[in-house]
């Protein structure tokens, strides 16, 4: 056997071995921020890594980070589909229409859009009931504030964020009738400098608790510098700022969902579904309530968490009025998912108006 034959044989063998170990499924992820944001995208990427670890060689994952919402994301998704992705997770609200558009062009590729409400035969939606975590945060915030002013950094005025504001307000108000919410819209998911500026502006106005619905840890750093300001980790534990200013957190745990959906594609059982899980199912976690919180407040917050998890208490339970004073939920009535999914109003007591 000549040297040339040997080489050819080796290459052929390698190619065969390669095809034997070829991935059954390629899973793509589209991220709105960098994987190192320490918050939202960081947790989605943890979910991706969990998929890789769980399936080993059978699944290949690809991702693209810092993809702007809008036309750019359509290009990225198309690229992924052309690269041979079988399942694509698009992990920001603003990818909703692009996901639907690209999905129509690639009927054999499955898409999963996070936090949106538009579905198709090959597009599922999934989200977590973050508002349950917001209820716990609101409770702690209402009990911890001394100035009775709570600052809230919103990203975009979309139902998910408005739900969070309402839920936090309802539960802060319940334990502290004097509480006021100052809401600042950053119009970005990720811009540490702007998020820090927003936190500083709120602190300047007297807020001593900052809730954030943006993705980076910058507001935590701003609060720490200011001194006496309480914060909560958002999307990720952000425990590097514990025990103070970060006193607790909402943790998104996407890994079980990503593994289950990838398994469904492998098994050929994938269908378009709408998943919305909360604390009970483990998709929303409440990060450790730190030692900076008084023991009785901690116990109340944990009881609230457990009641939400078991389903015995719903975060939106009447009597509740809308901001304009009109009745929304009667005594003991709970909000239905449809209203929650499209929530575009504040509850009674909030003084701000929702920008349109």
């Amino acid at each position: 056997m000549s040297f040339k034959n040997l080489i050819t044989g080796a290459i052929a063998a390698a190619a065969m071995a390669g095809s034997a170990f070829a991935q059954d499924v390629t899973v793509g992820f589209v991220y709105v921020g960098p994987v190192g944001d320490g918050g939202w995208t960081y947790e989605h990427n943890k979910g991706r890594l969990a998929v890789e670890e769980h399936f080993g060689d059978r699944v290949k994952t690809i991702y693209q980070e810092s993809v702007p919402e809008g036309a750019d994301s359509e290009r990225v998704m198309t690229q992924m589909a052309l690269q041979g992705a079988d399942l694509i997770f698009t992990t920001s609200f603003g990818y909703m229409d692009p996901t639907i558009n690209v999905a129509a062009k690639f009927p054999n590729v499955k898409f999963e859009h996070a936090t949106g409400y538009k579905r198709a035969d090959n597009v599922s939606t999934y989200s977590a009931r973050f508002y349950e975590g917001r209820a716990v945060q609101g409770h702690i915030a209402g009990r911890m504030t001394k100035t009775n002013k709570i600052g809230y950094i919103g990203s975009f005025p979309i139902p998910e964020v408005i739900r969070g504001i309402n839920s936090a307000y309802i539960h802060a108000k319940k334990v502290n009738p004097d509480v006021e919410f100052n809401i600042v819209w950053a119009y970005t998911w990720f811009d540490p400098a702007k998020e820090a500026d927003a936190a500083k502006a709120l602190i300047e106005q007297g807020a001593d608790v900052i809730l954030q619905h943006t993705d980076s840890t910058a507001p935590q750093a701003a609060a720490e510098q200011a001194g006496n300001v309480v914060t909560f980790g958002q999307a990720s534990d952000m425990s590097e700022y514990a025990p103070f200013p970060r006193v607790s957190s909402i943790i998104d745990d996407w890994a079980p969902y990503y593994i289950a959906r990838t398994q469904a594609v492998l098994d050929g059982t994938w269908t378009s579904v709408d998943t919305w899980d909360g604390i009970g199912a483990g998709m929303v976690g409440i990060g450790e309530i730190s030692s900076a919180v008084p023991a009785d407040v901690k116990a109340e917050a944990e009881a609230l968490r457990d009641a939400l998890a078991s389903g015995e208490y719903h975060a939106f339970t009447g009597p509740l009025n809308k901001q304009d004073g009109s009745a929304w939920l009667a005594d003991g009535e709970t909000a239905d998912d449809g209203t929650l999914a499209g929530m575009n109003f504040y509850v009674e007591g909030l003084t701000a108006t929702i920008p349109n």
Partner: protein
């Protein structure tokens, strides 16, 4: 001075802090463009400065060292751009975009071990006597040293370009590199130095974000500040004092709208946020209608001594 709960002095003080990163980056880029080079890699140099400044500040325990290291690192990075565009004559637009991508990737790599860590921050210095003036003391004389250094750099660049022979030569290179070459000026050497100055300034601007404004390291934390700096250079029609105006305008609008929101004033945030860009477009339309854009004539044109 209170305007319906809005303390004007505090507002101006915070807009100066908010504008300093883009001011530093923009004044550096002005010098680069005045020398006839278009470096679109500002964002990449800023983020490199941010991560290197943060890492060095943590390891040495000194924020000033962090700033120095940030300037050096970003200047070195810009040198790769200089080598590619000036010596190998690569396309400046493409190379600049490439520099941004390299900077973003490189910073993510360097920054991995520093995520979630806390660094020493640059503390504000209260200037004796002056900082005690009511209102104005808080507004003008209670900042950290970098705010003053950025203003000194603006004044220095203005004076240097306008009054010194070296500044004249740099402008000549940017207007007509062949004529400058014929007169015996070292076009490439001058441009290399300008590129490095621009890199150093962008690095300082980036470090200001990670060491003062936020202060922490987060991947991608400049979030487009470098592109705003590039817009400001055009907005200012390459004039240093207008760079200051532009940077404070862009920084001011951001801070103003956040503060107005925090006060509960219902304002159309979208319009306020887009206003600096609208003004930039208006300025561009205005100056091109006048037929004098003031752009350096040799901007982004390759130069080779054989031509």
């Amino acid at each position: 001075m209170d305007l319906g709960g809005l303390n004007l002095f505090v507002l101006i003080a915070s807009l100066m802090v908010s504008a300093t990163p883009i001011l530093l980056a923009a004044i550096g880029e002005t010098v680069v463009e005045k020398a006839g080079v278009l470096n679109l890699g500002v964002e990449g140099m800023m983020i490199t400065g941010a991560v290197v400044g943060f890492a060095v500040a943590i390891n040495t325990g000194s924020a000033p060292f962090g700033f120095v290291a940030a300037a050096i690192a970003a200047a070195l990075l810009s040198l790769t751009f200089g080598f590619l565009t000036q010596v190998l004559l690569s396309n400046q637009v493409a190379t600049g975009l490439g520099l941004t991508l390299v900077g973003l990737g490189l910073s993510a790599l360097i920054g991995k071990p520093y995520e979630g860590l806390k660094s020493v921050v640059l503390q504000p210095v209260k200037i004796p006597v002056l900082s005690d003036i009511p209102g104005f003391g808080r507004m003008l004389f209670s900042h950290d040293p970098m705010v003053y250094i950025s203003l000194i750099i603006v004044a220095g660049v203005w004076a240097w370009l306008k009054f010194t022979r070296a500044g004249l030569v740099l402008r000549a290179v940017g207007e007509n590199h062949e004529a400058a070459h014929a007169l015996g000026y070292k076009v490439i050497r001058i441009r290399m130095l300008a590129i490095m100055f621009g890199g150093a300034c962008a690095g300082l601007g980036g470090a200001y974000i990670s060491l003062v404004r936020v202060p922490q390291w987060t991947e991608g934390m400049t979030a487009g500040a470098g592109w705003i700096a590039l817009a400001i250079v055009v907005f200012a029609s390459w004039k240093p004092w207008r760079i200051l105006l532009g940077a404070y305008l862009f920084g001011g609008v951001t801070v103003l709208q956040l503060n107005l929101q925090a006060m509960g004033v219902a304002i159309p945030v979208e319009y306020l946020s887009m206003s600096p860009y609208l003004i930039t477009i208006a300025v561009l339309v205005f100056i091109s209608a006048r037929g004098n854009q003031n752009a350096p004539a040799a901007l982004a044109k390759p130069f080779h001594a054989s031509n």
